[in-house]
């Protein structure tokens, strides 16, 4: 706790696009109120003033993809009470985890003229592969309302509630006709964690799984269904091997078909 008895909050970035941190700044209407309720002690994107830890609550964005990050995440863990991994990179490795099925040395050569100077691990992995994570907020990006709700619950000393069910329930709740049934569009909403508000189907497209697997999903069943409907196998598998493709449940299902 800070001297004023406020929760000391830190925000960290690892391999990522900054989008999840930006969701904190995107809480425009609530940002200044939030800043009054907690002490933002470390948030490099927003302020150059940093206060030393330990912190009560650390938000971690990004996946672990370099040797330096591998070390730094341990320091972050040791310096906080509660660690919340935010976003697809921190919870599933993110889009850069596509390298995990390839040879990173080859990737270096594709992008850099002098690949020998580039320090990168063979894999990009979620925070939980390295340290204990107390809570995971999914999404590419995270939903800012969910983030504010979680902070509010933590401020009250409650265990934050996050959904466990699939995007399908959100589609039904907002009255969006199922895109698989009505438009014959492949959609991975049936195996994807709710939290976005079922955005993609409401825009007439299939869910691409950016919130990662729901609790206890059946991706194999979904893949088999799409294949039985005559969809291209490559298209179906790539839909699950995208922003959260390296999450264990999606990974295992897709790997089986290759």
């Amino acid at each position: 706790m800070s001297e004023g008895g406020k929760l000391k909050v830190a925000v960290y970035k690892f391999s990522s696009c900054d989008g999840c941190q930006l969701q904190i700044l995107n809480a425009e209407d609530d940002l200044l109120e939030l800043a009054d309720l907690v002490e933002i002690s470390y948030f490099m994107e927003a302020t150059r003033r940093t206060k030393p830890g330990p912190y009560d609550l650390s938000f971690v964005e990004g996946s672990i993809s370099t040797p330096e990050e591998e070390k730094r995440i341990n320091e972050v863990r040791q310096n906080c009470k509660t660690l919340v991994a935010i976003g697809a990179c921190a919870t599933a490795g993110g889009i850069q985890a596509l390298r995990n099925w390839s040879d990173v040395e080859h990737f270096k050569k594709v992008v850099y003229p002098n690949p020998e100077w580039v320090a990168a691990l063979k894999t990009a992995t979620p925070i939980s592969a390295h340290v204990k994570v107390d809570l995971e907020l999914m999404g590419c990006p995270i939903n800012k309302d969910q983030l504010l709700f979680v902070i509010a619950q933590l401020l009250r000393g409650k265990k934050p509630y996050v959904p466990t069910y699939s995007v399908c329930l959100e589609c039904k709740a907002r009255g969006t006709p199922c895109v698989v049934v009505s438009k014959n569009i492949p959609c991975v909403g049936p195996v994807t964690m709710a939290g976005c508000g079922a955005l993609c189907p409401s825009y007439g497209r299939g869910c691409y799984g950016c919130f990662g697997p729901m609790d206890d999903p059946n991706p194999k069943g979904l893949i088999d269904y799409f294949l039985s409907q005559g969809f291209d196998k490559g298209d179906v598998l790539r839909l699950l091997r995208m922003f959260t493709g390296y999450s264990e449940k999606f990974r295992k299902a897709v790997d089986e078909y290759e």
Partner: protein, 428 residues
């Protein structure tokens, strides 16, 4: 006498960077602007993905300007397979892009950059003394985000844009709530011009070459020809012939230079300098009234360029919303065919170049992306070198702040610059 200015982790920039300058007898001994943003290898893992997935994937390069990545990649692919996006869909893309400009510029102007000019560590601290300014800025930012939310579903990584247009175009009544507070938003944006024009700009005299898209009929954002204050006038496809990325032995940085030789500047200041005639008349009037004259030469005046673009964006966005009719089809479709295509659009931070090669099945064979920050890095370094003699006379604290402010002039989005890792300049 020697002095070292060290910033281990640059604050209030998007991504991770550091600065290290060593001065000896008033001269620069070494200057290192280090980018330690981890490489994410987008151009490598895009290979083997479908052309339809490219805008969704490249959006993830940057959470602050995802629309720019979606638009440059979508346009490159549309050119390649010969898709003509109709004007009524194009204008909606422009509206989405204006939303991103408002959101991104407002974030930078007030939250990241203004504290330098006003003497604060952060906007949150600034808010204690200037609550009205910060609240007005957040309302403005909110308005830009709302445009993106309506058109794209969400402001970070919007889901509706696609190759050929949008998955779904909004109905007029979905856009109309934007008009409810537009007069308040417009007043805030116009007032900001007067406010920014009267900030204190540190002296820095460096003649830079400015590069941006130019379009005769509109303030260039989504398409145009490449123009520069050095006389370049070329189609967008020639970008990678004109600007050469090179690597130097003492650095792991890829740096983009005109003809492989001269630094150049992209971004709001470049656009305003090259395209101020296409700014909305009321924005130009307000600029004149505030004593702003073109070109803006001092790099610290990039904040002025940004507020001019925000005001223009609000004016144009309002006009688009008022005249909006839902397009007859949200997107155009076509069969992929083997080929190559390149496109530039103006990301908030400057020209963003994409080039793709796909095969007959529509799978990406090759991808190349040049981000604005990669292009501006040489100019940041040139500004810092120019500044160096005066740094020697300052306290380390002041010198450090000034260096940071100088880098922030470019609103560097280091997350986007997956291309470079470390920059080091040694001067004898």
């Amino acid at each position: 006498m020697s002095k070292e200015i060290k910033v281990d982790y640059l604050a209030r920039v998007e991504g991770e960077g550091a600065l290290d300058i060593k001065l000896k007898d008033g001269k620069v001994e070494t200057l290192q602007l280090k980018i330690f943003e981890p490489p994410r290898f987008f151009e490598a893992f895009l290979v083997g993905r479908s052309y339809l997935e490219v805008p969704d994937i490249t959006a993830r390069i940057c959470g602050i300007c995802p629309v720019a990545y979606q638009m440059s990649s979508a346009r490159a692919i549309e050119k390649m397979i010969g898709l003509n996006v109709p004007d009524d869909v194009k204008v909606l893309r422009r509206l989405l892009y204006l939303g991103e400009w408002i959101e991104s510029h407002t974030l930078h102007v007030y939250i990241l950059h203004a504290p330098d000019f006003m003497g604060y560590e952060s906007a949150l601290e600034m808010a204690r003394d200037h609550a009205d300014l910060v609240r007005a800025a957040l309302r403005l930012k909110r308005w830009g985000n709302r445009i993106m939310e309506i058109l794209g579903g969400r402001s970070v990584h919007p889901v509706s844009p696609r190759v050929g247009g949008f998955h779904r175009c909004p109905k007029k009544e979905e856009l109309e709530p934007l008009l409810a507070d537009v007069s308040d938003v417009k007043r805030t944006a116009m007032d900001a011009i007067g406010w920014a024009a009267h900030l204190n700009f540190p002296d820095l005299d460096r003649k830079a070459e400015y590069v941006s898209l130019h379009h005769d009929k509109e303030y260039a954002i989504t398409e145009g020809r490449i123009r520069s204050t050095g006389g370049i006038n070329a189609p967008e496809d020639e970008f990678d012939k004109l600007f050469v990325e090179s690597q130097v032995p003492y650095s792991t940085a890829l740096r983009s230079l005109v003809g492989g030789k001269r630094p150049y500047v992209v971004g709001p200041q470049a656009r305003v300098n090259l395209n101020h005639d296409e700014l909305a008349p009321e924005v130009l009037d307000k600029a004149k009234e505030s004593g702003i004259s073109f070109p803006l030469e001092n790099p610290y005046m990039s904040i002025v360029a940004r507020v001019l673009e925000v005001a223009h964006s609000v004016v144009e966005a309002e006009a688009i919303v008022r005249g909006y009719r839902t397009p007859s089809a949200p997107y155009v479709d076509g069969r992929p065919k083997a080929g190559e295509g390149a496109a530039i659009t103006e990301a908030p931070r400057g020209a963003l170049f994409h080039r793709y090669t796909i095969d007959n099945g529509g799978m990406v064979k090759k991808a190349r992306i040049v981000s604005p920050t990669a292009q501006n890095q040489s100019s940041m370094e040139a500004d810092l070198l120019e500044l160096a003699p005066s740094l020697a006379k300052m306290t380390t604290e002041k010198a450090t702040l000034l260096c940071e402010q100088t880098i922030r002039n470019y609103d560097p989005c280091i997350s986007c610059s997956a291309h470079f890792l470390k920059l080091r300049v040694t001067s004898e």
